[in-house]
Symmetry: C2
Subunit: 609 residues, 2 copies
């Protein structure tokens, strides 16, 4: 061992003891004839004191930033204590030292507030990982993993490894494929998730399975997506939705307790997908704050159980609202004092192509109770008051109103809500709010093919009450424009998402376990019998031999860790992430391969001109 | 929840309580008007009693083997108790039941002694996994994983995930590669191990790293190899070999204690590679039994520190021994009574092409002290006695002697030793013997290219005392025939293997951490500077920024589990293994992919005619 203690270990109680430390030189400070060195390792930092006697040796063996050294000496009480540092009461009076390895000057400083830009830090990730901020992220990640394993162990889950070299069954995302040398012309695929294997394990009777496992998706990477990512993947047999929700509320509470020392005792609210869209315009609402949507106008076939209050805005000749499918208002607390400039900026913001609104109406609820609106010439103060009441606005609030087509307007309202909440400081990273979103639609409409796709995945069970609707109706969509009126559009799934601070951290469903229903589902997605057999014959086969009712959930481990770490950037919580082109710029991968490899795999390039 | 208890849970204390169980129908037995059903789940088996009143319902809903049912009833004391079964004192007096799912007749019986052949069981692996024997294997695997994590956690190791989509750097085994759609013409590789990443983590200061991680090798599969396999991968900084040996002796003892309830307190012996070859003819000796090799004749340049006793066999005109490079004898205890037929069979066995010996000499040490040999006409009884003494043979033993070229003869002697040990019942699966093998050669000779290859891997450090030899000498081998006389042949590595019952279960080394030495090593393996930079530039770069001394080890998790489970077949300890052609015959992978996938990846097939 090159050390007797770590750099975070020694205390005033160790005074007078001999010690050997090894670590990296963080800083070197010369005071006259003596030299102070801060020595750093994973566990902390300890001050070394090189007295005058060592000057000759130090001159012959000069130290530098990030040198690796081993130093032996006596633990000494510091005259100038540092209360910020756990080891701040002591220093090591060095008697001998060895330079274990030198370092050239690092391209950026190894400090929390480093001077290195993103690209530089990714290229030298091995140096970036030395920074305390990054190390704490990976330690948190480890702690989340360990808490997860301990909880699931206590609940009798078994960690069972599923294969990585599986079969390509693209449905939804693209597969990464791996040419098989031993089976020329054939390919493995890397799993997008262990979905079918965990279901087979249920068929095999392993009624509580989990895995913290890498998954792969070959998608064009939006910001903060990775081609390889990690899931906490779980499945249970002989359960209903309620059992799963309880089990994994337990998991997340356990993680909060163990990792964040937070006793998350409050009830985790449940909201239906439809209600989430109604109240937040979003199926992963950030519920840390209110500012809910007030639906002044909406299409009846989408929200058929809601009360129509469009009379509040109609019959005054304001065409923008009259012509709109949907009109949504939000009251922003304490924003009545926004300047003209601020309001103009917000209007510009909703008019950006990403949001795509044509404009925005505002109503200021002044402190004196009066109201002032950008559409005063259409609406009397009485009318404005009725609208303000509907939005639950108080004196001092600012009401913003968006109008247009249902989908776009709802999305814009959701975005505006989050945007202003951010500005107003309502999105506090260290405040946590969990939510279940339930009763998702089973199907989503795919416009390009005019057909249904599975919203979650093809193994998700419809709500029991909707199974008959699914069996009785032909999935074919006769009138593309009216797809929302097709009986399939209203079928709900036995699916659930766990949402934390406006991010989906986990999602799952009760699965189909009957062969016939699974076949019906595949058919609904446009898969004929041959394709079903080729892609999922093994699963349909397994369902013939006594498949139990089962369901599960998968948590996005990277995202969960990032949010618990108070960040929204998963890359900071992955040791060796890839950039937005899927490249690891440190090792320079992907890269070309040898001619011999092509020959052995019996493939060749076919590059586009 | 579809149950209140599991099928392994109820005891006589629960008598009179109401319960609901769910599980699979194992057996159905009718006795007059009542029906007994054994209901099975992961936790055990419970007897259900369907009384006469349920007969009508049973007739309308007949049960069958492997049906999934839910049954509610009262816990009843059994009149005919089964002491073999933890639940054997009770049965459930069923009041109502539901068939949750039916099963067609399984292709083999779901029992420990199943009637299913290997292929059938692999095709229906989801049914094979239901068998108790297989389930216990996977439970053992889970327990080994958990014990590993707990021990390493207590030792302050961090589980840090390394990437799966890395760079192809074939050296030794073949890589699986993954075409990158976003970087046309370029490929990722799947890791053969996280070797370079764990070394980078050491450079980053994460001084104790581990991972239980999938690794990939595209090799022609010998029996009991898998293209994807799992390692317990570990690395430590600021350590020397002794620290690693101690740390991982601790791990293996912990695993024995936790998983097997075995207190493995005996010293784990250490043997050098050279001594292992001398005593066992094998670098992973099965030390559960003696029967060591007696080297009657050997090449002096291979074992230069050993005493030559070839005078015992020479000068009697027996050309077979005189002409042989190597003559090795082994005394097999209590085998003097072997019949002529048995001896002939053994001779045939060593003459098989896999062993390749020309014949075998025997000496019977009779109970009365007399000796009888197949080469009596060359050796006097006195001479035979001297040979017998050298082999430490006792009265009643049989000495077998092999002669020929060094490499082949030593290997044959090792195989013969294991073969007879198996026959004699010395290889007891539930007896465990651990061993460290140390001081491996750093290089191996690659005949086809007349160059050196790394015996362990190119990151293994030479013994400090051999570093100068490596630096001072040109790696080029001038005379292929005399490669063993090249100075590189005698360089020892700072490497170690842990051996259990004749199988390597773990191996590792102290690594090179100096850039110049690493470059020298790459050069010795025939890599020019361009290739070094292309393949391992990131590692050489990292070594410039303060790399600490470090080393590690990796355990073959599948093999370790198999051996602890008393088996030598890793396939039985993997949930979804592949066959010898690398196929998963259950899901039928690998398989063809869509034209669209080829187009997107910009590759095409180039199949050999």
């Amino acid at each position: 061992m090159f050390r007797t203690h770590t750099c975070g270990e020694l205390r005033i109680e160790d005074k007078g003891n001999k010690t050997t430390l090894s670590g990296w030189v963080q800083t070197i400070r010369k005071f006259g004839s003596i030299t102070f060195v801060d020595l750093r390792d994973r566990y902390g930092m300890t001050q070394l004191l090189f007295s005058e006697e060592l000057n000759t040796i130090l001159e012959q063996n000069p130290l530098g930033r990030e040198f690796v050294i081993q130093a032996t000496g006596t633990v000494n009480e510091r005259s100038n204590k540092n209360p910020q540092l756990p080891t701040g009461d002591i220093e090591i009076l060095v008697t001998e030292f060895t330079i274990l390895n030198k370092s050239i000057t690092p391209p950026f400083t190894i400090q929390d507030d480093t001077d290195g830009g993103d690209d530089l830090r990714m290229k030298y990730r091995f140096l970036d990982l030395r920074r305390q901020a990054v190390r704490q992220n990976l330690e948190l990640r480890y702690a989340v993993g360990r808490a997860t394993r301990n909880y699931l162990h206590d609940q009798q889950f078994l960690d069972i490894e599923t294969p990585f070299l599986i079969k390509s069954t693209p449905e939804g995302a693209r597969d990464f494929v791996v040419p098989s040398r031993m089976n020329p012309g054939q390919f493995y695929a890397l799993p997008q998730s262990p979905q079918t294997f965990k279901q087979l394990l249920m068929v095999s009777g392993y009624d509580r399975y989990y895995q913290i496992v890498k998954c792969f998706r070959d998608e064009d990477l939006r910001a903060d997506r990775q081609p390889e990512f990690t899931q906490i993947d779980c499945e249970m047999a002989f359960v209903e939705q309620e059992d799963i929700l309880n089990m994994f509320e337990g998991l997340i509470r356990h993680i909060f307790r163990e990792v964040k020392k937070i006793d998350y005792t409050e009830k985790i609210e449940r909201i239906t997908w439809s209600e989430a869209m109604w109240q937040y315009g979003n199926d992963k609402p950030d519920a840390r704050f209110e500012m809910k949507l007030c639906n002044l106008k909406f299409p009846a076939h989408v929200f058929n159980d809601k009360k129509d209050i469009s009379h509040l805005i109609s019959n005054v000749g304001f065409n923008v609202f009259d012509d709109a499918e949907t009109v949504i208002a939000i009251a922003f607390p304490g924003c009545a004092e926004f300047t003209r400039k601020q309001l103009d900026e917000l209007t510009e913001w909703v008019k950006r192509p990403q949001i795509g609104m044509k404009g925005m109406v505002n109503i200021k609820c002044n402190a004196d109770g009066s109201l002032k609106s950008s559409v005063d010439k259409f609406y009397t103060e009485e009318k404005l008051k009725a609208i303000a009441e509907a939005t639950h606005a108080k004196a001092g609030d600012l009401i913003l109103i968006l109008a247009g087509n249902e989908e776009k307007t709802r999305k814009a309202a959701s975005e505006l809500r989050l945007h202003l909440a951010q500005q107003l400081g309502f999105r506090k990273p260290e405040e946590f709010k969990l939510l279940w979103v339930l009763d998702f639609p089973l199907f989503e409409y795919a416009e390009e093919d005019n057909r249904w796709v599975a919203r979650h995945h093809p193994f998700t069970s419809p709500k029991p009450s909707d199974i008959q609707t699914m069996i009785d109706n032909n999935p074919v969509i006769e009138h593309a424009a009216d797809y929302l009126k097709h009986p399939y559009a209203s079928i709900k799934a036995n699916a659930y998402d766990m949402v934390l601070n406006g991010h989906e951290i986990g999602g799952g469903s009760i699965r189909i376990y009957q062969k016939e229903l699974q076949q019906k589902m595949f058919a609904a997605l446009g898969m004929d019998e041959d394709e079903q057999k080729h892609k999922f014959g093994f699963l349909l086969g397994a369902f013939e031999y006594g498949a139990p009712p089962h369901g599960g959930i998968a948590f996005g481990f990277d995202r969960l860790c990032a949010l618990l770490g108070g960040s929204e950037t998963i890359r900071d919580f992955i040791a060796f992430p890839k950039n937005n082109s899927g490249r690891d710029i440190m090792i320079d991968a992907p890269s070309t391969i040898d001619e011999k490899q092509f020959t052995e795999l019996q493939i060749k390039l076919n590059l586009n001109e």
